[in-house]
């Protein structure tokens, strides 16, 4: 009866009893366990290791009986089951005592088991960074991950919780620490999501939570400035842009255009000197070096794009074929116009 397997059976039983008594003072617990260790081994020797549970009952019951007959206070777990209270108040002036907390925690525990599983999966997926988690590129990706990764992980964690295997005493502290860390990470993750959703002017787009939404073209390329030309191809030096409701269009994203990374934008100003953001084109200056005379950064305006415009019929006039006109590129504020196209004649009219 003293094979390895029989001893591991005995040890497992003793581990579970020990775990159940973990709240007792160390010395008391050591004394109790010293006595019963011999006893459980004797029972195993006499009846066979596989008979230990049958002869002594479930380890939890054994531990509770031991505790009660030794005159110790009931354990939180035991109290939660029995619905009794040891009367010690945890918050003065309230009815919240250890037993109440234990009871409530027991009720909440299955929810934590589920959350725990999903959180572990999220941690693994995000490589540990709460800010990176939940950054799905689309709702479809979110549903896919939720269905095939998060939900199964939650279910597995729940099943582990339901099985209720006692943690050996020496791992209890480590496990509690891990679970607390996981809970804090989860809190951080939730806050991150709430922040991303509620941040002012943030368009709620899965996968774009960390990007400022701004004007983009049909290929999702960021727009950093806007230029307008009249039908003759002449750049319009200054104009307001509004949408169909008259709201100013001012949400450009020059900082996301690689070629405009270091520009400084000068906004048009109203009579009070306040910037007006929907006046275009915006003047954008790029740092090109140090001005040796002033000792400050030397800036140069960013050149407007060189464009070739198709000829269009003047608005409100019948379609008549006019001579083809190629628009010149707009002149830059400094007048250093790059590669000007042939000047176009006035449109037929």
């Amino acid at each position: 009866m003293t094979t390895t397997s029989s001893f591991s059976e005995v040890d497992a039983y003793l581990d579970e009893v020990r775990a159940r008594l973990s709240d007792l003072p160390l010395e008391e617990r050591a004394e109790l366990l010293d006595d019963i260790t011999t006893h459980v081994r004797d029972v195993a020797d006499e009846h066979g290791a596989d008979q230990v549970r049958a002869k002594l009952g479930p380890p939890e019951q054994f531990a509770d009986e031991l505790r009660a007959s030794a005159g110790y206070q009931t354990s939180p777990g035991q109290v939660a089951q029995a619905g009794q209270s040891d009367g010690r108040r945890w918050l003065p002036g309230t009815a919240i005592d250890r037993a109440t907390l234990a009871t409530h925690w027991k009720r909440l525990e299955p929810a934590w088991w589920l959350a725990r599983g999903a959180l572990v999966a999220l941690v693994v997926m995000a490589g540990g960074d709460a800010g990176d988690a939940g950054n799905w590129s689309s709702m479809g990706a979110f549903y896919r991950d939720a269905l095939f990764i998060l939900a199964p992980a939650a279910v597995v964690s729940y099943l582990i919780g339901v099985r209720g295997a006692a943690t050996p005493a020496r791992w209890r502290r480590a496990r509690a620490g891990l679970e607390i860390a996981l809970a804090l990470w989860g809190l951080l993750f939730v806050l991150e999501q709430v922040y991303a959703v509620t941040r002012p002017q943030t368009q709620v787009v899965f996968g774009a939570a960390h990007r400022d939404p701004c004007l983009r073209d049909g290929a999702q390329r960021p727009i950093g400035n806007l230029f307008a030309y009249d039908p003759t191809g002449k750049p319009i030096p200054q104009f307001f842009l509004v949408d169909q409701a008259g709201r100013p269009i001012d949400n450009l994203c020059p900082d996301q255009v690689p070629t405009l990374q270091n520009v400084q934008t000068q906004y048009a100003r109203d009579a009070n000197g306040s910037p007006v953001y929907n006046v275009f084109p915006r003047q954008q200056d790029q740092v090109v070096g140090i001005d040796p005379a002033a000792g400050t950064a030397a800036r140069e305006p960013v050149s407007p794009p060189a464009v070739v415009l198709p000829q269009v019929q003047p608005a409100g006039e019948p379609s008549t074929a006019g001579p083809p006109a190629e628009g010149p590129p707009p002149t830059s504020p400094t007048g250093s116009s790059p590669t000007p196209g042939p000047s176009s004649p006035p449109p037929a009219g």
């Binding site: 109790l32 010293d34 011999t38």
Partner: protein
């Protein structure tokens, strides 16, 4: 006790457990009055005396509590083959306690016996 335990299945066993709670101290003291013993021995002797429903854990808890109250002393006897064994024995305080509780028990048992017999005769 044995008769009660074997009478009516689970409820009789439960009744015995309830009764035992009140008298386990005395039962353990009584066993140890006849000689020092280690835990398993105490359990066995209680069972041999007819207290078949006594729980192993309760006996160890009781030993621990009586020891804490100064009624018992203990000493470890090393064993050559098996694990070492912790023997418990009565202290003078324990002997005094046994006398006191035994007297209480006799009065109680006599009263109960009288009560139960009386009502049975009435039926």
């Amino acid at each position: 006790m044995r008769a009660v335990a074997e009478g009516n299945g689970v409820s009789a066993s439960e009744a015995t457990t309830q009764l035992l709670k009140g008298v386990l101290d005395l039962a353990v003291l009584a066993v140890l009055r006849t000689g020092d013993a280690y835990g398993y021995e105490v359990v066995r002797r209680l069972r041999e005396a007819g207290l078949g429903d006594v729980g192993d854990a309760s006996v160890y808890g009781t030993l621990r509590r009586l020891y804490g109250a100064g009624s018992l002393s203990n000493y470890v006897v090393p064993s050559e083959e098996g694990p070492h064994r912790k023997y418990y024995g009565l202290t003078p305080v324990g002997r005094e306690r046994f006398q006191r509780e035994a007297a209480t028990w006799r009065r109680f048992a006599a009263a109960m016996e009288g009560l139960v017999r009386e009502t049975e005769e009435v039926r």
